[in-house]
Symmetry: C2
Subunit: 140 residues, 2 copies
């Protein structure tokens, strides 16, 4: 039932946003498969749920401590009945730099490849890329 | 035969590099499925082989005209026997900015989700993220 699967996949996305905003990186990590593979916005790759959880726990103790994540847009496609590709546009607010200065809001395109294990949808592959608006010709 | 599939998937990667370096964006686009979906390093998303080909033809007439792409590292995982996830670290040299100045070499992490149609492997989903080395605490 595609509509049930769509709802289940979107529920994982909602849970990810919710875990981020509560800074609960155990809940965050539990949305991933044990062997999941995550590439963040600066091209750092973490392999395994534990590594993903630890890395995010570290940043949620520092630069993301008071940050909030919002889902601005998404589109979903099933490569197979049990493999989903979610393209999500997110906005992060309240991120700070190393000196504690709050950075401007930032949009990113987060891709989540989800698979089913049993009937549970989990994130197997993730990649996030900052959305950088085009510069005007005068500023190039 | 997994080893045959591994070779076929890596051959698509090699063809992509080769097409880039010959600036043959028809050959480049033909590596993608008709409904493929590409997110580049600045978070721009193109949907469809035609859009992917046209966008790359435009950049290969300008900023990438004399650029060369090298595969520095890769790892491959099959989510299913007919769905492959290739994580590739590439280096671009010879990219120019809008003023024609050559930019420093740039590494990126390119993810290609490939599927089989018949026995042919093609790229269904792609995302590229620049690898930004960590700054030292003094520079934050």
């Amino acid at each position: 039932m595609q509509s049930t699967d769509t709802a289940a996949v979107m529920a994982v996305m909602t849970s990810l946003i919710d875990a981020w905003n509560r800074h609960d990186m155990d809940a965050f990590a539990n949305l991933f498969t044990e062997d999941a593979d995550f590439v963040n916005v600066v091209g750092t790759r973490w392999i395994g749920r534990d590594a993903i959880g630890k890395a995010h726990a570290a940043t949620h103790a520092t630069i993301f401590k008071n940050s909030q994540l919002t889902l601005k847009d998404s589109s979903l496609r099933f490569l197979k009945s049990d493999i989903a590709v979610l393209r999500a546009v997110t906005e992060v607010t309240g991120q700070v730099d190393g000196a504690g200065r709050t950075l401007p809001p930032r949009d990113a395109l987060l891709t989540l490849i989800m698979i089913t294990i049993g009937k549970k949808w989990s994130i197997a592959v993730a990649q996030n890329t900052n959305i950088i608006p085009p510069v005007s010709p005068d500023n190039r």
